[in-house]
Symmetry: C2
Subunit: 476 residues, 2 copies
């Protein structure tokens, strides 16, 4: 039987079982597996156990990997949830695909502004509302539903699958990187491709594959003026206030066009070559929809290509806030003694974190040299995560493009993401293999917002693409 | 009997009863009358009742004045504590002195870093540690102890006294201004002088009288970029971020020498005339002690006179913080949608609040004209309080100077305060009479800090100055 014939059967089978898949997602969403709430840790564990049972029902060999403890408030420690390592098939003649996903969700409560109970999957106008529906329970279940469908159709599975399903993703993936490093020569050694479905389309209509992520360097800019907070009535006018220095320093970092003002920052940015520039032309991107999604009047750039390049392939600098200053409502006349400005720079090929760190330090030192201030000023890189970029012409991407055409009838856009999914790079480094980001949700799913949703059509088409993808991988 | 003879008897009597006065202060401090804690309101009421009993025991006619309700969280309302209006003596031949003070205290708990229980008055090395010891229970009791001493010595009291003792001072004196306005033609109509002991010496050794306070204009600088918070990975580089505008605007307000950069701000500041300049020369002020009190390495100005002038007679601008931005520990990659910069300008004679408001608005508008940003920016004067200044050669000041010499053997310094005590101006306006600030605590008492204390020597000498002051007032 040709693939096309099987696709027809598979897609019909999936369509026929839509209700079952919605019920399964409903069961998963009903477990409030919020990783950020330590008092909910038992729910996260329940979600891990629920998924383990489902995997085992499908014949997946499951190992629960203990990744240690998490420090919470007051010096207490609680267990991190186990990471699920699953193995499905072990045929040396077949390719092995590693699927990563996460079972934990962002916090949610009705009082945040939800129109429905966040942990009750609620169908309205073809949309499934609920926390975790699109991030990431829907995509994870899609993979499992596809395996089940192959089984119900008595179709031999075309590839070996490994699962790595964690449950701390929304709280920093604690323990995962170390685990993956320890698995390099065992669990990960025979992986041929890694695929991750934990991101979103660029718009609401057209599918895409993502081949790049920006990295991030998060800086703490620390200014201290005195050993205690001071009253601005008593001391204002005579003291070198920490906030005066901090605000002056922060104002030198970026201009009103989003241009970073730190000397040398753009030196290592990869030049825009004609073939890369060509990639942006065919991308479907509605700049008006982008504005309305962000809730802004207009963007800095006018053209589609320019907007996308500034999201994906140029660095940007955001001023996030200040720790230690007065942040409440109302009026407080404090001169804060110690303030920490928080800003981050999104980094892109071929910027080096170490270079950037030095440039930022030098910039701050240069500004302070010109200021007559005795205050203690320091800047430190609090966290650095590298950019990631894959070759969109890698065989795995070609396979996913064919699978997308088989379902949607159009080529997916080849896009990047402006944010970072740090584990992507870890998978690439620890397997040495190509990683594919295969989003199935729409841009307006609201992954971390109130009223998170997953469109039924995306759920269904997502499974179909995944089903076809496995066959395309088998042909490589 | 001459005053000097009576002073000798009075001072000895006070010295002989030191233990009683400490015990009385201990009783007052043991009532945790924290006005900022709604759940402690009954303790504030208990403090009012305790003081009422004491006043009545001394023969003061007391009226409790209901000043209405306070809105607290969740739309709830609770009763504001009554204001004590007391009348002691009604002899038309005598002058009438109105004494203001407050019975509420700042919040305090051991976990804030107190070395002793804040609501247990604890004597160590001649210091009485406890919340409210110096602010303002100590000074209030000093007035009452003096009245008691006159009675115990069978000495006719030289003046009529009125008391206005409130219990919301540490939380904005809600209700008091309206009350004073309503009392203008009744309770306040026959007042000759107002005296307030609710501030501190300039140093630890030398007494002072205060004749000026700076006012304050507190501004909210509001910038909005979008209808929701955005993720800097997704949107960074393409959006006019509110924080970029806000930080740029805030950086244009004040330079590294504390000079305000808003055009025209200094135009209305009273010129420094030679006779005013002379007032600064004799003041005892240890610039090193000032630095160590503030916990700073050095001040902006070097000379004593310059430091004092910049605290008292020149405006200053402090950047307090930002509401709506990320203010927590750690890293958060948010682009805040709506941020409010908080800054205040301390104002001095002859600055007008209305003028300043216009200058600030114009300044912000001018800066925004040069920025290419579509963001909504507005600045508003959230709160304006006028400066206050009295004539340090007014008869009441002369009287207090003589009383100080009688106790300390030296002339008090004539000083101002950099902060504001808004009620001072209200008393001056509603009585039309001279107001004297007569501090008795030392500069290191730590009124709003951990380990607030009141030195026994200041308690004792404070009462003596107060006792002598009444006699000097009677001679006017
Ligand atoms: Zn996710
Ligand atoms: Zn997420
Ligand atoms: Zn006070
Ligand atoms: Zn106070």
């Amino acid at each position: 039987m040709s693939n096309n014939d099987f696709n027809t059967r598979l897609f019909k089978h999936l369509d026929d079982h839509q209700k079952d898949y919605i019920q399964r997602l409903s069961d998963a969403v009903s477990i409030p597996s919020v990783s950020a709430w330590p008092e909910h840790r038992h729910e996260v564990v329940r979600m891990v156990d629920w998924t383990k049972s489902l995997l085992e029902k499908l014949g997946v060999k499951v190992e629960l990997s203990d990744v240690g403890k998490q420090k919470i408030a007051d010096g207490k420690e609680i267990d991190l949830p186990n990471v699920i390592l699953g193995t499905y098939g072990n045929d040396k003649a077949k390719k092995t695909v590693l699927i990563y996903g996460h079972l934990d969700v962002q916090p949610a409560q009705v009082s945040d502004g939800w129109d429905t109970e966040p942990f009750v999957l609620t169908e309205k106008n073809g949309k499934l509302f609920g926390r975790g529906s699109t991030d990431d329970k829907g995509p994870v279940l899609s993979w499992l539903n596809v395996i089940e469908a192959y089984q119900q159709l008595n179709e031999p599975f075309p590839v070996n699958v490994k699962f790595c399903l964690e449950s701390m993703e929304e709280y920093g993936s604690e323990g995962l990187e170390d685990l993956l490093k320890s698995l390099k020569n065992t669990f990960l050694s025979d992986v041929d491709f890694v695929v991750i479905s934990d991101s979103y389309w660029l718009g609401k209509e057209k599918p895409c594959l993502q081949y790049g992520l920006r990295g991030i360097c998060y800086f703490f800019l620390d200014v201290e003026c005195s050993t205690k907070d001071l009253h601005s009535g008593c001391f204002g006018g005579t003291i070198h206030e920490a906030m005066t220095d901090l605000i002056a320093l922060m104002s030198t970092l970026v201009d009103d066009q989003g241009h970073i003002l730190i000397d040398g920052v753009y030196d290592e940015v990869a030049p825009l070559l004609p073939e890369e520039e060509q990639l942006y032309k065919p991308i479907t991107f509605d700049t008006k929809a982008y504005c309305s999604e962000a809730g802004v009047e207009k963007t800095i750039q006018k053209e589609k290509e320019q907007i996308l390049m500034h999201r994906w392939r140029y660095p940007s600098l955001s001023l996030h806030g200040i720790q230690g200053a007065f942040d409440g409502v109302g009026c407080k006349t404090v001169i804060p003694r110690h303030v920490i400005g928080k800003f981050s720079i999104r980094i892109v090929p071929n910027m080096k974190i170490a270079t950037l760190e030095k440039l930022v330090e030098k910039h701050i030192q240069n500004i302070m040299k010109e200021r007559k201030s005795p205050n203690k000023v320091s800047v430190k890189l609090e966290h650095g995560g590298d950019y990631w970029v894959a070759d969109p012409n890698n065989p795995q991407y070609i396979a996913a493009r064919k699978a997308t055409v088989a379902v949607h009838g159009i080529e997916p856009d080849l896009t990047r993401e402006g944010g970072s999914i740090p584990i992507t790079l870890t998978f690439q480094e620890q397997t040495g293999k190509n990683v594919l980001l295969l989003p199935i949700g729409a841009s307006d799913d609201g992954a971390h917002s109130q009223n998170e949703k997953f469109d039924i059509i995306n759920y269904m088409n997502g499974m179909k693409v995944m089903g076809a993808y496995f066959q395309e991988i088998a042909k490589l």
